[in-house]
């Protein structure tokens, strides 16, 4: 029979420091385990495509020192960070990889249905589109062709070597931005990863919500300072109704506008070309409606860039590719063109001919190879948009009209009842 011992702790510290140390160690270990697990998962979803390619075809040059990226290589950097590892890719692989990481809007050649209920609109800042990664105390922005735009400290999570206790140092954040030179600001148009948490598989609605609530918390929207070289600003995103569209189209913004972007509310962040994000321009909201050549002049006739395939076919960058023509093998041999080359053509008098919405015939003439910096061919929608822009462009009134018709459909027409 155990007599109860009424003795209770008397004038003692509530827990022993050793127990506290044990518990803190366990907490740290559990946290690190979660982080590693999380890291593995994030990498899996964001770099999936890269790893597949690593195995199959790409030769990867791994260099110990990466002068551009980490001027002071340190032991702690040995922690694998696959998005940064991509910086060790070289040449065309870099361009390919980074080109694959951004969601590329199609050009709006006709108005999608349910524009006012399923879509967002924002005024696109003119500038350099880039993928921006903050991790391990530094921030790196890369252009679509993979070259580094800036390497700098920022107030983003783990974006500078300051004490940030809010998360593990290697957890990374990835933003889709446009860098606007005149006010030296990164306008953030999408958020792909935040503190190691992948947003790739989240709807645009959620990503924009997250972007607007999380970015400001970090102080990244503050004016530049010692540990925060550039200011970040989320773009203003509107519901694509009459008011939203009007604001985006006519409103004054701190940046130079370059057309309007439309994002489908339900779409996940899908890298590469997608019809769930669209871009549209006219002279009122963009200086660059028609493509310019490398001298900045609008050429008299439309030019297109196409990719040469093994069999001589000339294709767009879409997946699946759209064939716009064919080179004969003699010509290929004579001019030493290899498959995979990007070639520039001029659109002739004959233009394009469509049958049932499909390209039937294109009158194009070879000009030459493109600049090496170019990573990909034109998309079909771009070619089409440029083509119609020179002839019968899609006007803002068409967009407004489409919203109105959506309304009238919803408000005006009574539900059709099924009668049995």
């Amino acid at each position: 029979m155990a007599p109860p011992d009424p003795r209770r702790p008397f004038k003692r510290l509530p827990i022993s420091d050793q127990q506290k140390r044990r518990e803190l160690a366990l907490l740290r270990q559990a946290q690190s385990r979660r982080d590693s697990q999380h890291h593995a998962r994030c990498i899996a979803s964001s770099v999936l495509s890269l790893q597949n390619r690593e195995e199959s075809q790409l030769e990867i040059e791994i260099e110990e020192a990466e002068p551009e990226l980490s001027p002071k290589p340190s032991s702690s950097n040995s922690r694998d960070f696959d998005v940064l590892r991509s910086s060790k890719l070289r040449g065309p692989e870099v361009r390919q990889w980074f080109a694959r990481q951004l969601m590329l809007p199609e050009w709006m050649v006709d108005v999608p249905p349910r524009l006012n209920s399923d879509w967002y609109v924002f005024a696109r800042p003119a500038g350099k589109r880039c993928l921006l990664v903050s991790s391990n105390g530094t921030t790196v922005s890369r252009l679509r062709n993979g070259s580094i735009l800036h390497h700098f400290p920022s107030a983003l999570p783990n974006g500078a070597r300051t004490k940030d206790i809010s998360g593990p140092a290697h957890s990374f954040s990835i933003l889709d931005c446009i860098f606007h030179e005149p006010d030296q600001t990164y306008y953030v148009i999408d958020m792909l990863c935040w503190r190691g948490y992948s947003l790739y598989d989240c709807s645009a609605e959620f990503r924009f919500f997250w972007l607007n609530s999380k970015l400001a918390e970090t102080g990244a929207c503050n004016p530049p300072s010692q540990y925060h070289r550039y200011r970040f600003t989320p773009v203003l995103i509107y519901e694509c109704d009459h008011i939203g569209l009007h604001e985006a189209y006519t409103g004054a913004f701190p940046y130079t506008k370059d057309g309007l972007s439309f994002y489908n509310r339900h779409a996940h962040y899908q890298t590469g070309n997608t019809p769930l994000a669209l871009v549209w321009k006219d002279e009122n909201c963009s200086q660059y409606v028609l493509d310019t050549d490398n001298k900045g002049q609008v050429p008299a006739q439309q030019q297109v860039v196409l990719e040469l395939q093994d069999d001589g076919k000339l294709t767009t960058s879409d997946d699946p590719r759209v064939v716009c023509g064919c080179l004969d093998s003699n010509f290929m041999q004579q001019s030493g063109l290899q498959s995979g080359s990007l070639l520039r053509f001029v659109v002739g008098e004959g233009g394009f001919r469509f049958v049932d919405g499909k390209l039937e015939m294109a009158d194009i003439h070879y000009i030459g190879k493109t600049n090496r910096a170019r990573a990909f061919a034109d998309s079909y929608s771009k070619i089409l948009f440029q083509y119609t822009a020179r002839r019968s462009p899609l006007k803002i009134d068409d967009l407004v009209a489409s919203i109105s018709s959506c309304h009238s459909q919803e408000d005006g027409s009574p539900d059709v009842k099924m009668v049995l």
Partner: protein
């Protein structure tokens, strides 16, 4: 033979070592050669009235030890051995045991009653010896008092050994009737009444049904309350022990009796002998425990469906209870602060007052303040001490609003008393009270700070001065400084008010650790623990000073290693000091290694530090030092892949730690360190994995190792796989069956008690973390198909967990993550399997709509990988 056994048993207690050793060996030999005969001989010895009492007693003890052991695995073996014994032999042994209960020799029957209970503990759950309880009760009223006393004692032990669910209600009723009758005042024999009262204490847990019946409960309560008034002090004490037990087991049934209980406890506290008065106070402390639990659990909101309502007994008793407790505070003993084992009326009363404050909050303050004001300046030390202790006791519970203004006034008084009061006891309590002030009324969560730049200097000056006082006062002062530092832990990179004094504080604490008398009153330990907290809570401004502390502590650790030829006492002290110093270094590693600017400077010490830790390990032959192991885990985390250079030397200690079944804390910590190392080294850990995995698998199969270490071992499988990826292949054939059988065991936790349910969830979490790590480790490897055969079972496991509906949030999050990992790694190959599982639909949906954002996040991830796996 019989004579021989007697001789052996007597010789085994001989003063002469050689004789004793020889006898012990003979007994052991006898036991090994013929167990049934051995046990039977012992029971024969025990029952034989002609044998000397010493041999009978030892015979009984050996019998008892042949039936039970502390270690779980040993106990299991003994139980199996007894169950396998020939039933005729067992019947003879049992008969001897029961017969011994009537022996006129007290020691013989008392030993026998314990052995009977042990046998019952094994036999009753196996439906053997069903006639036992009947046999004990049948002629109870006809027995002579000594046999009656032994029988009641046996019933008490039996209730302690046996779980209530193996005794049917009819027998419970009979036991309770017999016990309560034995307690009744009509029972003339004191020993019988005492035995019955003690038996009731153990039988209370069997009385659920009887306490639900008003009449039976009234009767039991009346008899217990009457027993608290017995002329015999031991009976009064035992009766109060019953009341204390009732207060926690049947709190919700107490309302009709609480007024009477208050009256008798109040009288006992004021007038009765100390052991009785202590139990009477304990009754109210125990009621506080219950009410604090209920109020915490329901947040003070009682809806109709709350399990146990709060009756607010303490609130109702408050006006009478508080003066009663305050009175006890004046009954201190001289030098109680120097005596670690002391427990007296003043200590119990103050502790109870503290619990009352936590139970009722603000209401206690006006009842205690007059007592404090009246006594705190009295010339008699007892009065000053009691007033201070009362003040310190009520600082936890009432709101800061209620206390801040009082504390602001009291603070200066306390600081002055700590410096000037002539009495050691008063200073001890004053320092403790200051610690309580800093603990509960200082910190980032308190709106009105009581510590300002204006008074900080004065406080520090007094505390540092007081650290030179007697060891017990200095120890409490260290505690106060501990909480003072803790209150500033959130200042982070901004300025801490302690910064200007940092150097002085550290210096003062180091001086304390070197005091000649630092071994008394836990002083050295308190000083190092406070140093740790000061470092932990320091701001960036003092990072450089923390850095300078590193070589100082390393030098101290180095000095402990230079000591030669130590006595066992000195060795123990060395070991303890090394623990404190390793703990201190661990805190600094985490502090300095955790932020980028200091980390690089800190790196210069790492080689030397690791060298010291390895030498600390080398100091011992068979076991590893727990604190050094913890510190090494922190080090590996801080320096990452560079840790690989220490592995060749460190590995053997890692292995030793994993082999330490006895000190399971050491084993558990080492398992955690394996995880740290995996994350630090990643694939560089590969060469060590064969050894580590072998050890971990051995640990899992051991029934000696404390079960709490097993879940972390499973998690560790995940860490290893995540680090070495597809190289985990060769361990799959060992790890997967282990995981699979553990998974099957862990699915059903239903019917288990809270503790078991909690363990089951820990186990599930470990298993699931292992699966996650393994899937992610194999991700993108050409060998993912090796995992395919395990997918059906894992999905089934997830489905079963979902069906059981008793997962906690942590398990839920890990489980849904595993579903995602499975889909992610196996992709479309597992698509059809995934689509068939309940988890991929109902469970996933439930998680997607969870309020817990971690669960939701994992579910979103799982959803995305599943849709990919299904769509392709």
């Amino acid at each position: 033979m019989a004579m021989e056994v007697t001789m052996m048993l007597l010789n085994a207690q001989a003063v002469d070592g050689t004789v004793r050793k020889h006898a012990e060996e003979s007994l052991k030999q006898f036991q090994e050669q013929n167990l049934p005969s051995f046990l039977f001989s012992l029971s024969g010895e025990l029952v034989n009235e002609e044998k000397p009492v010493d041999s009978r007693k030892l015979a009984g003890l050996i019998l008892k030890n042949a039936l039970d052991a502390k270690e779980q695995h040993r106990k299991f073996e003994l139980v199996q051995r007894w169950l396998a014994l020939d039933s005729a032999v067992k019947a003879q042994i049992k008969s001897c045991l029961l017969q011994t209960l009537s022996s006129p020799v007290h020691d013989a029957r008392s030993t026998a009653s314990q052995v009977v209970a042990k046998v019952a503990g094994i036999d009753l759950p196996h439906n053997q010896w069903p006639e036992l309880i009947g046999a004990l009760l049948s002629n109870l009223h006809q027995l002579p008092p000594h046999a009656k006393q032994a029988t009641l004692e046996t019933l008490g032990y039996l209730c302690e050994e046996v779980s209530p669910d193996v005794v049917d209600q009819d027998q419970v009723n009979k036991i309770l009737t017999a016990v309560v009758q034995g307690m009744n005042s009509s029972e003339g024999n004191i020993d019988v009444r005492l035995a019955a009262t003690r038996a009731l204490y153990n039988a209370l847990s069997f009385a659920q049904a009887n306490f639900s019946n008003d009449m039976e409960r009234d009767y039991i309560m009346r008899v217990v309350c009457e027993a608290t008034l017995s002329p015999e002090v031991k009976i009064r004490q035992a009766a109060y022990e019953c009341l204390v037990s009732i207060s926690s087991t049947y709190y919700d049934k107490l309302a009709p009796y609480i007024q009477d209980i208050f009256n008798i406890t109040a009288k006992a506290v004021k007038e009765d002998e100390e052991p009785v008065a202590l139990q009477a106070i304990e009754f109210w402390s125990s009621i506080c425990d219950e009410e604090i639990d209920i109020i915490e659990e329901y947040g003070g909101e009682f809806s109709g469906d709350s399990d146990i309502p709060c009756f607010y007994f303490i609130k109702q008793a408050l006006p009478a209870l508080v003066p009663l407790l305050l009175e006890t505070l004046l009954k201190q003993e001289e030098d109680q602060d120097q005596d670690e084992g002391a427990w007296n009326l003043a200590m119990a009363g103050g502790t109870c007052l503290g619990l009352v404050a936590r139970t009722v909050g603000d209401d206690i303050v006006p009842l205690v303040m007059p007592f404090i004001q009246e006594n705190i300046t009295k010339p008699e030390w007892r009065q000053r001490e009691a007033a201070t202790y009362a003040f310190g006791s009520i600082l936890e519970g009432p709101s800061p609003d209620k206390l801040t203004s009082i504390v602001n006034v009291a603070l200066n008084f306390m600081l002055s008393a700590l410096m000037k009061d002539p009495n050691n006891h008063v200073k001890d309590t004053t320092a403790w009270t200051l610690g309580r002030i800093f603990e509960f009324l200082h910190g980032s969560t308190v709106d009105t700070p009581i510590i300002t730049h204006a008074n900080c200097q004065q406080i520090i000056t007094v505390l540092l001065q007081s650290m030179k006082d007697a060891p017990n006062v200095a120890e409490k002062t260290c505690g106060a400084l501990y909480f003072l530092a803790q209150g500033f832990e959130d200042v982070g990179s901004s300025s801490s008010p302690l910064t200007p004094f940092f150097q002085d504080i550290v210096q003062a604490l180091l001086t304390v650790t070197h005091r000649e008398d630092a071994g008394e009153s836990r002083l050295r330990t308190a000083a190092y623990e406070t140093l740790n907290e000061v470092v932990r809570c320091s701001s960036d401004e003092t990072a450089l000073m923390v850095m300078q502390l590193v070589p100082i502590i390393m030098t101290e650790l180095h000095q402990t290693l230079e000591l030669q030829k130590l006595s066992s006492d000195e060795r123990e002290k060395q070991n303890e000091l090394q623990g404190l110093l390793c703990g201190c270094l661990q805190v600094m590693i985490q502090k300095l290694g955790g932020s980028e600017p200091t980390k690089y400077v800190f790196m210069q010490y790492v080689d030397q530090m690791m060298g010291l830790f390895l030498r600390v390990f080398a100091c011992r032959s068979a076991t590893v030092h727990e604190e050094a192991m913890l510190a090494i885990g922190a080090l590996a985390y801080a320096i990452g892949a560079d840790f690989v250079k220490y592995m060749p030397e460190f590995y053997k200690y890692l292995e030793m730690g994993l082999q330490n079944f006895e000190e399971y804390q050491v084993c558990a910590i080492t398992v955690g360190v394996v995880g740290d190392i995996c994350r630090a080294l990643e694939d560089k850990v590969l060469p060590y994995c064969d050894g580590i995995m072998t050890q971990l698998l051995k640990d899992l199969s051991s029934n000696q190792l404390h079960r709490s270490v097993k879940p972390p071992i499973f998690s560790c499988f995940g860490d290893i796989s995540l680090a070495i990826g597809e190289n985990f292949e060769k361990y799959l054939m060992y790890a997967m069956p282990m995981l699979q059988s553990a998974a099957e065991l862990s699915v059903h936790a239903s019917g288990a008690d809270d503790e078991m349910a909690e363990y089951t969830n820990l186990l599930r979490n470990g298993i699931l973390e292992a699966y996650s790590g393994i899937f992610q480790g194999f991700k993108n490897s050409p060998k993912t198909q090796l995992l395919m055969p395990f997918a059906p079972h894992i999905l089934q496991f997830l489905d079963s967990l979902y069906m059981e509906k008793d997962m906690d949030d942590v398990v839920m999050k890990t489980a849904i993550g595993v579903l995602g990992d499975l889909a992610d790694t196996l992709g479309s190959n597992a698509g059809p399997l995934i689509q068939q599982s309940v988890s991929s639909r109902d469970f996933l949906n439930e998680c997607l709509s969870s309020d817990d954002h971690l669960i939701k996040e994992s579910a979103e991830w799982a959803k995305s990988t599943i849709s990919r796996a299904i769509s392709v």
